[in-house]
Amino acid sequence: MRFLLFCPITRVALQNRLGSAEYSYRFVLEGFRPLLEKIGEVIEVENPEHEADKLHDEAKAAGRTCRLICFCPPNLAPVDLRCPTTVVLAWEFDTIPTEPWDDNPKNDWRTVLSSHGQAITLSSHSRRAVEDALGDKCRVSVIPVPLHKSQAREFEPTNRAPGDEIVFRGHMIDSQDLLHSHDLCLPVDTLPIRSDKLSADDVVFSFSEGSEEGACLLGFYDPEAWGVWSRVENPAIILACPLWGTVELHLNAVAYGRNVGREIFLLIDGKRFPLSLTETPTIYKITVSIKSPTNLLRIGPLDIEPLPEAIDNRSMGIGLVSLRIKRIKSLLPRLLQRLPLIPPKQKLDEPRGRLHLSGVVFTSVFNPRDGRKNWDDIVSAFCYALGDRTDATLVLKVTHFSPIAYCKKFFELMAAIGPVRARIVVVNAFLDSGFYRQLIKATNWYVNASRGEGLCLPLMEFMTAGVPAIAPKHTAMEDYIDEASALIVRSNRTPTRWPNDPIKRNGTRWHDIDWKSLVDCFTEAHAIATRDTKRYVEMGSAAASKVASYASEERIQPLLQKHFQEAD
């Protein structure tokens, strides 16, 4: 049998755009690949519309069957091919899109799925959503991503040894290296951020709504169409690229209320530059010589007392429209002149992180831009429950190509929470299986507080290695989360929109987490890990055997074969 595998996220794209939309389908494809290779011949195709039928006809001529397996939402899968096609669908909402948005009939998933006549979903929850819309027009098999046996054998719950140092390639933010001021929380050191986009000698950062990629604004209100209002007395900007050498800053800014004409300062690299802003947006030019690379700019002190007669009683001080940064090439030696605005890349490209974990370790793995993951609840509930304990650590293993994606939320959360004695580390490790295995080994509890899951592969990977979970029992997690292996977080349904709906209708539902129940789970989990070894070990074994029996290759292989046989 020949399998043609298609995923819109290619391997190369995954490296560069880790954490972007639909990236997780790539992990699903890679998860299925070894098993499919056992059953038949596997060929990955990038353009199924053009490649699939040719490869299919070729196989057929040789007397073999051929099937195209699409790891993507149905609207991205081809229809009307000669090659039989199966969609593998991960879906966390309780209904599927049934409207041909943008005049594309494939956006009504029923069109695609009924044309294929069958599909694979990763969970019973997704199967219900498909069946509710299609009845018997589409035969659905629930087949989770198979997990390798070796993982389950390698880590027994009792073998865990927290305390080992884990070395990894990537960046890390540690709550122990944060400076809390009265209105902000900032990293002690320059954040090791790189951005290929910003290696030019002339860069403009816009602060308007929708352009949050370039800079992390701390102590501001939500961006508006024109720019952004400050919220606190000394707001800060962390740029996506460190500045060094002589640069010209063109700051387009406006003052509000009593800040009009008042002397305020721009702080960069330990130097203060006085500014006096007017009440209309104006560009202010400042030339700075920066000795040690920095990406932190601060502005203040602002008068943030709301005007007594103002209807808008927010604590606005200044508004920022944009910031342009130009590198000055003047009296520098020729060699230096050729240096880009950004310091040499290799310094930042090969960061070595060292993570030393102790106490009870809670881990969650997610894409910080994925709105389902609800990680602010994880951080706040952890700090509320265990913030006073020095023997509790929360590891947030994030996967995203740009740290700007999570810096803002993390620093603002930590400012809101204030200093805690427990430890929170955000680890942005590049795809690194060695690190991942060590992290699983050092973890006591895996934490999930999602609004919905198509599967949640990391949760299953940790569980299969004997790590018990804190998780809600909804969407895909219904299939493998139970009281024996997890502390269950309460949740309830709430309306939302399909992620691909241009009209943004409240046409489907996902889940709200009961925050207090998440707090209680953290408290209980810590108590179990420190005081009830027997129960902890039991939960770990239950987790391993539950997931092993649900997603072992032995179970999945016949399911796949049966599905394809019935389809052929």
Partner: protein, 431 residues
């Protein structure tokens, strides 16, 4: 002191008569609370009302010159108390979080409510929940009294004709959005919709839910309420949700609500949105047409509309938390489930997580809607029992008789002779 002898000065930053211009902005509801208190205050003595601080001391001197001792009731949050007044002052404020600010920010010492309130002989709030929050900070013996706005008397008589489901026609001047006339299912250019301000006629019948809220008040969960209504009654043409908007900016809030309606379409149940002042008769008609009054807030200082409808024998769909815990019970309401979440005091620009608010369980709101519809339609006796329980509970909660007695008793307990010591307020308090 005996009834009818007090010299009361009431202060509020917003004038209830000119409130329309600022309706929906922070603190506007203090003006409503003052208006609801006035009949009671008038019955207790001479009451003068001021909307700026300049005239308070002059009034105070005149009263003292006549040999009487004035009492200033300041309907303001503690950080907006008139600091320069040397009257004997009792702050009257609403609060819906489990802690009060006990630290200051932005160099403004008055943001520290705990420190501010310690300089007053006592204060009045509107719920037992708020009393607990204040005492958590100021000690179990701090003189604070929970006195809801006395709204029962004005609404109780309406209950002689409670909801029947028969058509009732409302007339008002303002803006009316009716989901049946908006063509939500069609491709309509909504940018051209004018939110006309004109004489309107609205006929309500069958099962009617009513919610009254300021859409820019983030606590209200109004979107979730509209969503729950549509998800529960999508194809039931006999169900109506009335959403009465409180906000001065008609264009803005009508647009916001319209956008939400479009996102909920298609549906056959009916949503009507009212923006505009309802005369007394019209408001009473709305109460009579309403089967259940709805609230799904994250927290309430007291919730006047809910109290008014319930006083008029309208049972509720609401959570029993914060101030609502004082009067929402399974006897008079279908309870909505919520659970605590960490949040910040709304006036704190630093947004430090310092208190708890209640996160809505949306599923339970849908369940409550279904149960309410079933009760109203199939179990009229049970509905009537809930209606009369609402009226009774609210008598105990907010009738003039009950609130008046408690207010007099409280004012007698807080000693005016404490004034010189308490009036010695820190000089760094900003006016």
């Amino acid at each position: 002191m005996l009834n009818g002898q007090r010299e009361i000065i009431a202060y509020c930053r917003h004038n209830p008569d000119t409130i329309e211009a600022t309706l929906g902005d922070p603190d506007y509801s203090y003006a409503f609370v003052l208006a609801k208190y006035l009949p009671l205050l008038n019955s207790m003595g001479t009451t003068q009302v001021f909307f700026n601080t300049h005239d308070i001391d002059a009034a105070c001197r005149r009263i003292r010159a006549a040999g009487r001792e004035p009492l200033l009731l300041s309907f303001t949050p503690p950080h907006r108390l008139p600091v320069k007044s040397y009257c004997f002052t009792i702050p009257v404020f609403a609060w819906e979080f489990d802690t009060i600010p006990d630290e200051s920010w932005n160099g403004d010492e008055r943001q520290n409510w705990s420190a501010v309130l310690a300089h007053y002989p006592g204060c009045i709030t509107h719920s037992r929940f708020a009393v607990t929050a204040v005492r958590r900070s100021l000690g179990a013996t701090y003189p604070i009294c929970s006195l809801p706005a006395p709204v029962w008397d004005a609404f109780a008589n309406l209950s002689l004709t409670t909801w029947t489901g028969k058509p009732i026609t409302l007339h008002f001047t303002g803006t009316l959005l009716d989901s049946r006339r908006l063509g939500l299912d069609r491709e309509v250019d909504y940018d051209t919709i004018a939110f006309e301000f004109r004489d309107q006629t609205l006929t309500l019948s069958d099962f009617v839910l009513t919610m009254i809220a300021n859409p820019s008040d983030g606590r209200k969960n109004w979107r979730e309420q509209l969503q729950a209504f549509v998800w529960t009654f999508r194809n039931d043409v006999h169900c109506t949700l009335v959403f009465k908007l409180i906000h001065h900016d008609r264009e803005r809030v009508c647009n916001e609500v319209l956008l939400e309606l479009r996102r909920l379409a298609p549906f056959r149940c009916r949503i009507v949105v009212i923006h505009g002042y309802l005369e007394k008769q019209t408001f009473e008609d709305l109460v009579r047409a309403t089967t259940f009054v709805v609230n799904a807030s994250r927290g309430e200082g007291q919730c006047l509309p809910l109290m008014e409808f319930m006083s008029a024998s309208t049972p509720a769909i609401a959570p029993s938390h914060t101030a609502m815990a004082d009067y929402i019970t399974p006897d008079n309401a279908f309870l909505v489930r919520t659970s605590p979440e960490w949040t910040y005091w709304p006036q704190d620009p630093r947004r430090r997580l310092r208190c708890l608010a209640e996160r809505l369980d949306w599923d339970s709101l849908c369940d409550a809607f279904s149960a309410a519809a079933q009760t109203a339609r199939k179990f009229p006796d049970r509905y009537a029992t809930m209606a009369s329980a609402a009226r009774k509970t609210l008598w105990w909660h907010c009738s003039q008789a009950v609130v008046g007695t408690a207010l007099n008793q409280f004012l007698d307990e807080v000693n005016p002779l404490d004034l010189p010591a308490k009036a010695n307020r820190p000089s760094n308090w900003r006016e």
